[in-house]
């Protein structure tokens, strides 16, 4: 590598090429784009001296308002030819720093396959993550995942929650519910997700898709 920089959408081609060269990634492109368009500050690529993308980290902020403000690492990839150069550490540090500095995240979480010893070691010994929970059969092939976390700062009073770019009305799909959904029962807020005017539909579709992924 050399440059760890924020990704642009044109990098998408090269980023997915990394998947080809590492292990096939099962996320749909929509999912990548959802990250890129929502939290571009958290998305970093490692660029080699020739301008080639040799690694990337894809991360997001948790959108569920019932949980404390935190980030989540969705995907991390480094080309085999560029392993053992500390790239993964640099990418992760960049994403974590942005979660903290831009969004005020309290902690960062990630999932890792139980069998992925190399990644597990990276997360625990180099990056200071700890096992928070074990999610049974998290992956499509039935393998368990470790739910790992790393604190970024002391828990903040609730007001810091989502103080990021979603402030103001209509920012995020999870709050500022318009009157129709204010009743608060779960189906009605779900109903509200279908409301397309300010794009809620997409959020819904996104979650829908996401659950499909976990099936």
């Amino acid at each position: 590598m050399v440059c760890i920089r924020q990704a642009t959408i044109d990098d998408l081609l090269a980023m997915q090429a990394c998947n080809l060269m590492c292990l096939p990634e099962n996320y749909q492109m929509k999912y990548y784009l959802y990250h890129m368009l929502s939290w571009p500050q958290l998305l970093f690529v490692a660029e080699d001296y020739g301008g080639r993308i040799v690694g990337y980290v894809l991360a997001k902020m948790e959108e569920d308002p019932s949980e404390p403000c935190h980030g989540h690492i969705t995907s991390l990839a480094v080309l085999r030819s560029h392993r053992k150069l500390g790239l993964a550490t640099k990418l992760m540090s960049a994403a974590q720093a942005a979660m903290d500095q831009v969004f005020g995240a309290e902690y960062v979480s990630l999932h890792v396959r139980r069998s992925n010893r190399a990644a597990f070691n990276l997360y625990t010994s180099t990056l200071g993550y700890q096992i928070h929970d074990i999610e049974a059969k998290y992956y499509a092939d039935g393998e368990d995942a470790f739910d790992m976390r790393k604190p970024l700062r002391q828990p903040q009073p609730k007001k810091h929650h989502h103080h990021h770019h979603h402030h103001g009305p209509g920012g995020c799909c999870s709050h500022d519910a318009p009157p129709a959904a204010a009743a608060g029962s779960s189906p009605s807020s779900r109903l509200n997700l279908w409301r397309g005017a300010d794009g809620h539909t997409l959020c819904f579709l996104f979650f829908f898709f996401f659950f499909e992924l976990l099936d």
């Binding site: 784009l33 929502s38 660029e47 301008g51 500095q101 189906p187």
Partner: protein, 1018 residues
Amino acid sequence: MASKFGLAGGIPERRVRPIWDAVDSRQYKAALKLCTALLAKHPTSPYVLALKALILERMGKPDEALSVSLDAKERLYSDNIFHFDDLTLSTLQIVFQRLERLDLATSCYEYACTKYPSNLELMMGLFNCYVREYSYVKQQQTAIKMYKTVGEERFLLWAICSIQLQVHFSSGGEKLLPLAEALLKKHISSHSLHEPEALALYVSILEQQAKYDAALEVLSGDMGSLLGREEDKLRLQGRLLAHASSYVAASEIYQKVLESCPDDWESFLHYIGCLLEHDVNLPKPCTGEHASPSCSVDSAMTKKSCLSEELVESRLASALSFVQRLQESNSSDCVRGPHLASIEIERQRCLNGIPNDRKLIEALVKYFSRFGHLSCSASDVATYLHMLSSDEITELLAEISGSFDASSVSVNTLGLTVTLVKVQELLGMLFTKSTAELQGIAKGLVDTFYRNLPLSNDLDPQESMYGEELLSMASSILVQLFWRTRNLGYLLEAILVLEFGLTVRKYVWQYKINLVHLYSYLGALPLAHKWYITLEVKNILLESVSHHILPQLLDSPFLQHAADLVKDYLKFMDDHLKESADLTCLAYRHRTYSKVIEFVQFKDRLQRSMQYLSAKSDSVMLQLKQKAESLEEVESILENASHGTRLVEVSNEDNMKQLTFNEDLEARPWWTPTSSVNFLSEQFDEGSTPSSYRNKMCKHKSEEKGGPKLKDAERKSLVPRLVYLSTHGCAYFLREGGRNNGSCNVTAAGEMKTLLEKYARSIGYSIDDALSIVLGMSSGKKAVKDYTPDIVSWMSFTVFINAWNLCSTESVIPATEFSSPNSWDMVDILLKICIEEQLTDGNRMLTSPGNNIPLLVRMVTEPISWHLLIIQSCMRGMAPQGKKKKKGGPSERPNTPQLLAIQSSVNRMVDTLRRVQTWLSDQMKPEEQALDVLLSYLQGTSTEGPGQISRTLDESAVTVSSEIGGRIAQSLESWSSAGVIRKILGAEKETIAEFKKICDSKLKLLMSESASLSSMLH
């Protein structure tokens, strides 16, 4: 008008909820039932109607859905409507969008907004409608209206974004920049800005107007603190300063960046550029496309500085001491930037004519001694290696090989071994070695791989093995040996080495890609396809990676595989283009304004993709090829493809000029730098130098975006329409039974002429010249060989000329001194000559890779298919029609001369196809016999010639369990070279069988046509 508490679209929410739940769980039948019941109670509710439309659409009933949603729209518009709310509108919007009627959705919102002019929710809905339609001006107007209504910063920024999009996508859009600036300034003076993305947008508006100082002032003011990360701000400042030609200040800023991020190579290059006062406003090469790093040259950085030599010298010296400071304070192996920087500084010295003696080589030696064990070290310095003289190269290689003990087994040693060969590979040094030397190197690499296998025994199967590159390099050398000697054994060994590697670990993508190309070349396409499938290419990779297999599949008898691949690709592209507007809405909502612009540009880039355009034609062509024996099926395929008109439209000149090429060619093996080039099909040039190969490769890569491919795509896009006009025109003409018919046919003939002119132009000729060439070829006056590269196109051209001649009111074939030749004869003879030439030239498929099967397949599946369709259509046109037959009697006289011409054509086609069949049967040998033939290539006993490596592999597989054991031993249990060879034979056989099947079905059709012809003539 807004929904009341507990009401959804005017309907009690508890009544609607179960319907949505059913939709969510895809219980559409149940949802429809509930909805129908609700509709009985509220028969005029637009919301319930919209819901019903939505359910119908999900159930796959688009027509019903459209009519119900239009009904809902009508009711919304009627005056007595009470609940005109956003929920109804947004539901309708979803339905209209899915029905691809964005215009209807937009008009609903437009109507609502005129009715309730200051309703913010409706205006946001309308804004999103315009975003989906890419109507930037209307977006801007709506956003401004929202901004004026509520005064919120984000709506102003939506408007600014819409202006930016006009700047990027409409001519003259940059005139709007001052307006954007003024709007922002006014807002800032009263409200300032509150979001980093807003600041970035403001700065970019200023930057685009070259107001660098103003932008810098904004950054250093209060708003500058919005950029959360200090380095981001510094980089932006550095860029603005450089643009403003404040080089000293810019270089100081970049120094600061490097102090906190010593590995930031881009900033380092800017730093050097500023020190040497390079103009940063020079256009950058190939932006927005897949660049090929190995060929591209940074235009600004390779120029000589305009400063005096002394000044350059002193500035570079200060840069060097700065970089050395960085090196000292960053001792970790992970920070390579500052070390590489000192090499770049030496390069700059050379470029600026400062006598450097040995500084560059010394810097490189130093770099390798520190980082040589890393697998990226050779590619890190690739550009610099090419600057060395041959003595220096020898010295460097000696230094590297002297720095380790090659016989020891360790990760470090292995890394250095790989680097040593990789440097030679990069420099093209291997081309200068003798056959014996190369063979020794390849053997050594395989041995080293085997010796170091124990290092990888404890790794997870998904982790890459140590020294994986060794096998790629060995295989690559073996391919070169094949190219030089044409000894098939080397090619087989090149395959065996990679197959061996994949038996040890099945995830190595580089092995797979190389195998895809080797098997394709060898004529064992099913194996190539099999490995390609295991790459699990999907999503955007379909755009950038398909080129490894798609071109070969398109020219193969495996039409279904090709059709599947094209279908997957088109589905991905179509879906993405459909969905991307919704994602743009998301970016607006999440206020990531810079991404809005990037994302729309990205969509535009994909929409203009060359491969996308090409695949649209391929998709129709493949269907036609698969169904060419049934005129009815072909007609329905064409009907679904708008009779080929849309394809002709998309390949208009304007579109062709703006195409993008997104293929990632970097991963292709050296012998086939692009899909249209294969060095192995050319002669090996003994006299060429390493650098001439590099140049050749780069030339091919840059030409990929030019002529031949475009012409090919343009030509393909004409074929479906030509097939339609040919079949349609002939049938019509013959049914009318003469040359006295109406205007319909005149138009068809006129259109055919225009298309054939275009077709001829795409081969490089005017239609008249092209006509005389095909006449020359069919009369034996011109040699077919002279027109080889486009021969299939020439054949198709001739076929279409015959059709045009049939339906044209005047003879299109110029009369020769003897007579006006029959256009049927011309086709029959030309097709025969062209195909027979392939059959006599054809070598034994088994032992001659790069054979002409793909060409033959194209001849049979394209021109012959089109010709058979024309025959079928003539036959149908001339067949006595049911009713007339009963009434008609003597007035219904067969057109005997035409029938005779068709009969002779049918007979000649039968003859030609039978020859192909015979030739194909000759290729097939009993498996054991064929196996012996191929294995005999690997029996060499001397140190020269192939065979040693395959024996090494077989022996290794046997000893592995005792020497290494574990997982690797287990995976190698099944290894056998002969097994791989057997699979190759199987794949070749499958290819021939598939091709024979295609010929069979064509022959069957011809036989039945022949029978009907005889009965019609007698």
